[in-house]
Subunit: 194 residues, 4 copies
Amino acid sequence: MKKGEKREDIMLAAMELIAERGFHGSPMSEIAERAGVATGTIYHYFENRDVLINELHLSLEEKIQEMLREGCSEEQPIRERFLFLVGAVVRYFVANPLHYRYMEQYFNSPYGVSRRRDKILGEADSGDVVSKILSEGVKQGIMKNLPEGVLFALTFGPLLVLMRDHVFGFETLDEKMISRIVESCWDAVRSRYV
Amino acid sequence: MKKGEKREDIMLAAMELIAERGFHGSPMSEIAERAGVATGTIYHYFENRDVLINELHLSLEEKIQEMLREGCSEEQPIRERFLFLVGAVVRYFVANPLHYRYMEQYFNSPYGVSRRRDKILGEADSGDVVSKILSEGVKQGIMKNLPEGVLFALTFGPLLVLMRDHVFGFETLDEKMISRIVESCWDAVRSRYV
Amino acid sequence: MKKGEKREDIMLAAMELIAERGFHGSPMSEIAERAGVATGTIYHYFENRDVLINELHLSLEEKIQEMLREGCSEEQPIRERFLFLVGAVVRYFVANPLHYRYMEQYFNSPYGVSRRRDKILGEADSGDVVSKILSEGVKQGIMKNLPEGVLFALTFGPLLVLMRDHVFGFETLDEKMISRIVESCWDAVRSRYV
Amino acid sequence: MKKGEKREDIMLAAMELIAERGFHGSPMSEIAERAGVATGTIYHYFENRDVLINELHLSLEEKIQEMLREGCSEEQPIRERFLFLVGAVVRYFVANPLHYRYMEQYFNSPYGVSRRRDKILGEADSGDVVSKILSEGVKQGIMKNLPEGVLFALTFGPLLVLMRDHVFGFETLDEKMISRIVESCWDAVRSRYV
DNA sequence: GATGAATGAGCGTTCATTCAT
DNA sequence: CATGAATGAACGCTCATTCAT
């Protein structure tokens, strides 16, 4: 077994379990079992439960940010970038429903709340592609002059709900539907008379 | 003490505690203490923890529905009804942050997921004012021709995110801001060329 | 079973176990088992392990102090009181070897150290019969003019060692021997030329 | 690195750690870390934890005995030898508080108890300078005719207590105080009418 | 009905020891 | 020889639930 592979196994096991059953339903003992290691082994790789969960979250966040940065040309007009970006997020989670489930659990927990506070109160995360588009859109007068947090909510709020419905099989998100939804989000943030 | 008053005390205590500290931080013993009853007493009124939590949710949901039904004249045009309704929901939660916190905890837990499944898969809840407006809006061609679940997400998704930011003090929702947000939600669901 | 009896059972079980095997060899689970209760039950009576151990110590200390106060007439001369007192302590522990073992474990542990600091740095414990005799002995010039801590060590230091030997069967402390030892302690603290 | 140097490193690390934090606060992993070796390496030099601890104790004891033997002329009268010896022990521990702390931890643990039993029940340790003085003192009628264990307790019991107070900063042992204490110990063991 | 003492499975975490490299 | 990743039993503690009073 390659080096570092066990660490990955543990993170994967934790992610799956938490996505499926939530934090409360994912004791260290089961994470270990699913990862195929002894309980104590987890503590070689992660100082404690909280650290494991936060690292897991960071790694997922980084993966998504990277995906978004890659496909996002800064030369296109705001609208096209917005549509691409939001669509990409939806498609990512549709393709990786476990990631979505995990993120949802994370943000709705003490972990996520403090993480969120860090982000909002701290300096703007310069690597955050979404922030960039929103602030630029406002500056150019293409988007409504609302606080970034509000624009963010108008953009991703619907997706959170729909993604959840999709993951649980209540709603089917095919390509066509995704396009229409993304367009609707655009309608919510764009300036009305431009 | 009137009959049923103890039952109310328990539900109130549970709601406050769960809103403040989440499910994990709200053991039965503390719920009992805050309600001023013995632990065992809870089990006279509620078969077990899950039942208590679900009943609590139902009662809250009913209260909100009632509030919406009351203020909602069916004679006004769709747009005005939509704006009123969505605004009412926001104002309700801004005025009752504990209810919001509770709802959020609830939906992000095994409880909420199964509840949601019940609702969507089961027969349409005829008392649901929101559903009515959405379906009527589509029928009249004033709203986009999207599945009700999608329209629901476009309407309430942003609110969920903003409410949370508001509750945690990241965003301030004053009257003016609420109006602009509600208008933006309307932009998301309304037909584009009408 | 009478009320409060379980609390006693737990304290007795803890005392015996700790005396026999030390703190490290006395997990809560075994204390519970020996007391004939479930593990969790201990936590109804004692907030946690530390509290149990400290309460146990306090109760033992109180018992000893009481015994000493009872038999100690303040009208006798210092020397007679000293001989009585020190003898009483020895006889108490010879009769209750478990108490001795417990005390020894206690004082040689983080618990005991902080307790000791409390006592020494805090105001003099007015109920402490030993302190009273020592300070009075110095004032009357009957004892050496040494700090109370030193006199205390000269008095009880030998007893600690001997008690341990006795408890482990290395030395036999019969009445005659006890008398001679107590006299020797008196020789250590008394003024030489009085 | 010289042969056997690693062994020394491990023993030194163990001694310091145990003196500072007790047995309980000194896991093998930390001993290894402080010694600059891998955990497993300890097990090349010591069969297991108990063996390490006992060897450590033996080596310390030997060091002290040696120190005492060196400075102790057998030609001086008993009293002078006694004063020198006991003073030397106190000064040694005042100068090496870590050794004292270690010894204290050791004797107050299952390790110490069995070691003590070995010593007392086994053949007399002919190299023990203290024993020699005590038995000679009794033979010459200069000391009280008490069992050696009792004389030992009268001599070293107070020191144990005072040393502890000193180490924790409750009592200050300067030269003058040491002399007076040693004299007092002598008072305890010497024949009264000689 | 109402109580709260009692239960015990389950949790996160530690650490002496082993063993493949 | 030396390493340190891996083990898993054991720990202190929590809490949903039961039941004698």
